[in-house]
Symmetry: C2
Subunit: 309 residues, 2 copies
């Protein structure tokens, strides 16, 4: 599981920071969180085909988080995306109107299903491999923060299986996937050859929000919390007035939620030197990084590092 930051600015982009967008490379697909203007070129830069994106999660309907959607959708159309490859976009109420407006911007049509999910809090997507959940947090318009939780299979106890007479091969795979097998007329159940339940990677992305207790609960024990940090503490009044967070506030959330690592993003272009932002966060929560465009984070590696601690 890998994170790729496609845009790390706040409302006004700069030469080095594009509007927000985060790609999660996992489970054989690319899951996109927010889609600011310019995301299709940012994807081209890191050689990710937009065709691999089947799900986009929008935190809120401010321009800097959605204005890359029209171009990205159109680009998928140009590449021949068809009715077999629906694109699902999740976000707060109003997203259906956003879709209609995209199709009315100019001459614009696509041949694939564009399925809008106006969602509330709770589990949004769940399958055998992961769960994606949303929670309402506090911006000046409705904002959803998202978590992705990897369902990690228990370890397969290979020697135990051999001891029970199972031959290495397809039966190992079946058992690891929870399917019982018959060996010499004897039924072997998965639980006989599987280790204890294991926690998977937990990723949390704040979208735009002021610091809040909901986030502490939602991010509890996360592997990585990506939290907005539009300002530093010297502009705490601006953060308060605009329903944003400072880096110190994001660090406090990370500490109280007991996350493993914190990544600050959504950085105001007023800060050309991000050292101050980082410094005040690290004083509160040591494992803090400030995101840059194209920064990659290996989530599985971080998870493994802390798994046995």
């Amino acid at each position: 599981m890998e994170l790729i930051f496609l845009g790390t600015s706040s409302a006004v982009p700069s030469k080095h920071r594009n509007h927000p967008g985060i790609a999660l490379k996992a489970f054989g697909e690319i899951i996109l969180f927010d889609c600011g203007e310019g995301i299709q070129r940012q994807l081209a830069n890191v050689k990710i085909s937009p065709m691999k994106i089947n799900q986009i999660f929008i935190s809120h309907l401010h321009g800097d988080h959605i204005l890359g959607l029209p171009g990205l959708i159109q680009s998928m159309g140009f590449r021949g995306r068809d009715f077999n490859s629906p694109l699902h976009i999740y976000g707060p109420p109003g997203l259906e109107k956003t879709k209609q407006s995209i199709f009315n911007l100019g001459y614009f049509s696509v041949d694939f299903p564009l399925i809008i999910h106006e969602i509330d809090e709770g589990i949004v997507v769940e399958n055998d491999e992961y769960v994606i959940e949303a929670v309402k947090t506090y911006h000046n318009v409705e904002n959803l923060s998202y978590s992705v939780y990897e369902k990690k299979k228990p370890r397969f106890l290979r020697e135990k299986a051999i001891e029970l007479g199972v031959d290495p091969g397809p039966d190992f795979g079946k058992l690891h996937n929870g399917i019982e097998v018959e060996v010499n007329g004897k039924i072997i159940k998965p639980e006989q050859v599987l280790g204890n339940d294991r926690d998977g990677v937990k990723l949390v992305y704040s979208g735009d929000t002021k610091p809040c207790d909901e986030m502490i609960r939602f991010a509890k024990d996360a592997t990585v919390l990506i939290h907005e940090s539009t300002y530093n503490s010297s502009d705490e009044d601006k953060a308060y007035n605009n329903f944003h967070s400072t880096s110190a506030q994001a660090a406090k959330i990370a500490k109280e939620a007991n996350v493993k690592e914190l990544i600050l993003t959504h950085i105001s272009t007023r800060y050309t030197n991000i050292n101050d932002l980082k410094k005040e966060a690290i004083e509160i929560f040591e494992n803090t990084k400030v995101a840059n465009d194209f920064m990659k984070i290996n989530l599985s590696k971080i998870h493994k590092k802390y798994e046995n601690k």
Copy 2:
């Protein structure tokens, strides 16, 4: 007068080519032609404030030529553009619907007047300094090509003025600006101290079009013709089917219109090496350049170079 290419790709952008957009720095302002996704970052890259843009001319309503409008407009709002600074956007019918859709994309409002001009052929803007004209050309949706013609003042005949008793100073300026002055009870008329009429810079931008006679007439004797060249001759069938031009076709237009210089743009990302495009154009019309993002062209210098030829 200077041209700055902000985006030179066709429908699909690449790492090195943004969606279309051309800034004309002249007459104390920035005039923008087309506004593809990402233009606000391209402007940041060349240190042009969006606040200097008061007029945008849209060739046609395909996404690659308009999807930078929502972000650019919003960005002007963030910078405090107010009711004293209207933004005028000119383009083909349908542009008013584009505006309404922009405001319905999400939470979006601005405090300055956004004035849409759905235009036809003919003179679009005229003042003391320049004339902007439009002509319909041939794409698969309505496309307007634009020309900008600089009204150049005749030379001021300084020695003649002194001979007539005019003192160097404010009266020189008045006469050069067409206002008569009184010297020792005698009226001096501008025509007494002004040289012959002079041609100014003529710039023509094609937007997206197949090659056509209208363009030859419209671009007649232009200083610079910016013509789309989505394909080279090996893909002439694609150019034909998609109502685009090849570089050879653009060069033929330039030659027949007797322009001074031709700049090819709207280059398909299929061509990673643009030498072929350039080569086939130069064989037909020598003074050809292929545009790159951030390329700057000094129009006044080109005009001067050919003025006395």
